[in-house]
Symmetry: C2
Subunit: 214 residues, 2 copies
């Protein structure tokens, strides 16, 4: 049936609105996956920077005690890097939360609906194939059994269509809500960190019920 459809040799049951919704959902997933992959790079590079800041803070502190002429210079640099490490660990928690939530959204929540969509697409193919077969039967053929088969496919197709309709509507609201919250967290945590605003950073963590793991 799939091949006949591609060759344009048969008709397919189309629900334009539903197909658009499905295409939109797949597009959303691609977008979130792209953001997720960039966020992972972000966290990765930031974590490397954090480790270097930690090493630099330790080194400057050591040199502060060993060096007579540059004691002050090493001292304030050790302090500055140490402060960045403490704030950086908080930002790291926020980044990890952002990543883990987006991962769940892409690979569990949306993926679950996409699995149902695949079942729906198969059911639609089977339904249309059965319909085409029926249409091609010579007039006066024994229709009863084919008719029962057709009804079974039709029922399954309509049930799945209804299922994904409900699932997608629920998901549409849910994913927007999740992303709104996560993009706000991402922005606020980064803005607070890169403006050296510890209070705002702490407030953001509290707002999102996040604890710093160290």
């Amino acid at each position: 049936q799939s091949i006949y459809e591609k060759l344009g040799k048969t008709t397919r049951t189309v629900d334009v609105e539903l197909d658009n919704q499905i295409e939109q959902l797949r597009e959303s997933k691609r977008r979130y996956e792209h953001v997720l992959s960039l966020a992972r790079s972000y966290a990765n590079h930031f974590s490397n920077l954090l480790a270097t800041q930690r090493a630099l803070s330790d080194t400057f502190l050591e040199l502060k005690h060993k060096s007579f002429h540059l004691c002050d210079e090493y001292g304030y640099n050790a302090e500055a890097q140490g402060l960045l490490v403490r704030h950086g660990e908080i930002l790291m928690s926020a980044l990890n939360y952002f990543i883990s939530t987006l991962d769940t959204l892409c690979n569990k929540t949306i993926e679950d609906t996409i699995t149902t969509i695949r079942l729906y697409e198969t059911a639609r193919l089977e339904y249309d194939a059965c319909r085409t077969e029926m249409e091609l039967l010579p007039p006066g053929s024994q229709l009863n059994e084919k008719q029962r088969e057709f009804e079974k496919y039709k029922e399954r197709y309509e049930k799945l269509k209804c299922d994904i309709g409900v699932k997608m509507q629920f998901l549409e609201e849910n994913q927007t809500k999740v992303m709104k919250k996560q993009l706000l967290l991402f922005h606020n945590a980064i803005a607070a960190y890169f403006s050296g605003n510890q209070q705002a950073l702490d407030a953001t963590m509290k707002q999102f019920n996040l604890k710093v793991l160290s």
Copy 2:
């Protein structure tokens, strides 16, 4: 002579103060090299983070135009990352200047003096070897020629000793001045960047006569 000295079978000419100065210089070089290597990692990770911020800013901007429900959220995130990129490029210039100055200090300025120190150490060995030989000559030997050789080694040794004395004194003042300035730049640029203080960052760049290459 070197082996005899290690076995304690001969005496060596020692200038305790000068030897301490040499050891201190070598220690300083090791310290600066360690800071330099950490600064290189720092710049490397920061540059990777900067590239990810640039990609994320572009992606958020694109999604802002494509997404109806999350338009605002993508918008302010694109702006925040874009701002970090612009400030980050300035910090990157400061880091690169810090690295290039420390590299010159370690691998040209200090290395030049250390090369002279190596010549001095060889001259000291040759001088002591010649002195030991003279002491071991049986009484009444023909001393004139050995004496001339000895004077030559002595002269060379004393000239190089004088040279490194001057070089090390000059270097001591110079390296402290350079490091004081560089550690101040490093601190001020990082403190300004990580407190989101564009004015302070610009002022630091101006103070150190730095231009942003982009």
